[in-house]
């Protein structure tokens, strides 16, 4: 409790608060522009955080995460173009409401829902994280190995597109991390004769290439697409007490769904919103109204997608396991700042672990304030000429990556992975499993090998240790379920 209060005290100082505010604002602005994603913003900001204190860097990134997911509802509601995949479900009812002249009401509902979702999931984050971190301290290499395996399998199985492509992406991500020093015994491997590969491929160029550069080239293809003009006023945005009361059950249910879906490794905000939306629809007395501009649809989708952030942060700070792609990048950020993500974070760097928790709460409050009072102006960002925006981002990618390592080798790597990411997107090969495979493969390999060393080559603990066996069982069930669903879908199509 003391640590939490200390963290609040720190956050209420000028610099951290300013950084959090900037993070949330940038997140909302970038999230609101279709084509620019929260992942892109966070990866692009990582090089700049090198010059900051670790707590401040994480505070800024958490602000961007919260702002990005919330900001994506603006374009989803006004233009039927979700700023990020998290707001796909918001388009179903938010856009029809906007078409009926109720843009302000739709945005007001969405903003309040995002806020409530964020606050409820914060309660779970604050309450569950410390005991979970204590539990995770009892985990050994087998538990960690199976947990990483579970995250990879779940992300590959639940990614859009086929399971096989998801698994290819995960394997490819793991392979990309192979060059350099073997994490277990220090043996140099797979450098292909390049001296620069001896230290392996750095996280930043791969991430920025795969997410930011590939996205820019994808956006250039559709540069002619212009958003239609929409008018948004500020009136009718704030919900009344009776509105809150009316949707209280939906708020609570969607928050809980969002948090728990976010908690599962590899499942993002879009799945949380989808599940919450379908639950709201199935439990409604008027399910036929969903998709026609029905308010509970907006509430369910926006509450859940924001709540999933809090849920996803739980495995991140307690076990070092990412709940989503953005979380994998946040893990990368911790590693870059020489911090070890995982249960030890609470004892070795409590200011970071609790910093994440407090920044998430305050970030949500700031998000609510900015969105309620400035959404009218933020909506204008949708009309910024793409030519200027994309060329500026491309330039920042090049100099940002050069600045991190003072090396042009990294810039070439970024360009290569820009092309790789672009091709993967074009062939519907998901980038999520790729990045999680890249970030987690050294952990998985080191833990498996350390486990095998301790048992002299026996894999028996995989089945005898309760947590390891559970994680393994979940991985196998997810894989079988995904294979069955794919087979069923292909039969239906044929």
């Amino acid at each position: 409790m003391d640590q939490l209060l200390n963290s609040f005290n720190y956050l209420f100082q000028l610099l951290p608060m300013l950084l959090l505010f900037i993070g949330v604002l940038l997140g909302i602005v970038v999230g609101s522009i279709p084509g620019l994603t929260t992942t892109m913003l966070i990866t692009l900001t990582l090089p700049l955080t090198f010059f900051m204190e670790s707590v401040n860097a994480i505070t800024l990134l958490i602000g961007m995460y919260v702002g990005g997911i919330s900001g994506s509802q603006i374009a989803a509601t006004l233009l039927r173009m979700p700023g990020t995949p998290a707001s796909i479900m918001t388009t179903f009812d938010g856009y029809p409401m906007s078409q009926q002249g109720k843009s302000e009401r739709a945005l007001g509902l969405g903003i309040t829902a995002s806020f409530v979702g964020g606050i409820v999931s914060w309660v779970f984050l604050a309450a569950l994280s410390p005991p979970l971190a204590k539990l995770a301290l009892t985990f050994g290499p087998w538990e960690y190995f199976t947990m990483v395996l579970m995250a990879l399998v779940m992300l590959a199985s639940l990614s859009q597109g086929s399971l096989v492509k998801g698994l290819i992406a995960a394997c490819f991500g793991m392979m990309v991390h192979l060059p350099g020093v073997d994490p277990s015994i220090g043996q140099m491997r797979l450098t292909f004769g390049f001296e620069s590969l001896e230290s392996g491929l750095s996280l930043m160029p791969v991430l920025i290439g795969a997410f930011a550069v590939s996205q820019i080239f994808k956006d250039i293809i559709n540069i002619d697409a212009k958003p239609p003009n929409v008018n948004v006023g500020r009136k009718k945005m704030m919900l009344s007490f009776s509105d809150i009361k009316k949707y209280s059950l939906n708020f609570v249910r969607s928050s809980v769904i969002g948090t728990w879906v976010g908690l599962l490794p590899g499942i993002g905000a879009n799945i949380a919103a989808m599940l919450s939306y379908s639950t709201a629809k199935n439990s409604s007395k008027e399910p036929e109204k969903f998709g026609t501009g029905h308010e509970p649809g907006v509430v369910a989708a926006e509450t859940a997608n924001n709540a999933s952030i809090g849920g996803a942060l739980i495995p991140l700070i307690t076990m070092g396991i990412p709940g989503s792609v953005v979380d994998a990048i946040l893990i990368g950020a911790l590693i870059i700042h020489n911090l070890e993500p995982g249960p030890l974070l609470f004892s070795t760097n409590p200011e970071i672990a609790y910093g994440v928790i407090t920044a998430y709460l305050i970030g949500n409050i700031i998000m609510f304030g900015i969105m309620m009072f400035a959404v009218v102006h933020i909506a204008k960002v949708l009309y910024v000429p793409r030519a200027y925006l994309l060329s500026a981002i491309l330039m920042f990618c090049v100099i940002g990556i050069f600045a991190v390592g003072n090396s042009f080798f990294d810039v070439w790597i970024m360009m290569i992975f820009g092309a790789v990411g672009f091709i993967m997107e074009r062939t519907k090969m998901p980038l999520g499993p790729f990045v999680i495979g890249f970030v987690l493969s050294p952990i998985a390999e080191a833990q498996l090998r350390s486990g095998l060393m301790s048992t002299e080559g026996s894999i028996e603990p995989l089945f005898t240790r309760p947590f390891a066996a559970t994680f393994l069982a979940i991985s196998v069930i997810s894989l079988i379920w995904a294979m069955y669903s794919e087979w069923k879908r292909s039969r239906e199509l044929s």
Binding site: I168, F172, M175, F217, K218, N222, D224, F396, W412, R449
Partner: protein, 158 residues
Amino acid sequence: MRNQVNPKTEIILCISLILFSILVYYFALELPDPEYEPLGSAALPKALSVIMSLLSLIVIFRAIPRIKTYKNKDKINTEVISRPKLSIIIFIITLIFVGILDFNILGFLPSGIVYMTLIGFLMTHRDLKKLPYVFGFSIILTVSSFYIFTKFFYIDLP
């Protein structure tokens, strides 16, 4: 929705992945046998190469029957891909820009201004009326980022 991807592209990608896996496997063979623990440095590269090759083969076998049926869909969907050439051209220009900086042919300020102006001009549909704005924007952005990086972050740009 599932089969909108050009099967030929999928096949080319998967063949490239198989070739990459073979390369990784070949280099993994050169690694020494495990000495201190059961797996050794080569186990993961070898396992991943085999798994990725097998998965890529599955995608190839699935894509082959779709080659003929895809042609019609391709014609219908051409309007979705509006300016792929522009994307490729800007990618090549960016590679040239990085090359110019890497091999010290020009400094960041002149090459950055030319690069930004060029890609901005191409992205504004080579509209000469917009060129002064694009040029102005390029100067402001390049000069300001140069000073921010060198004076504020103390990073020497080329």
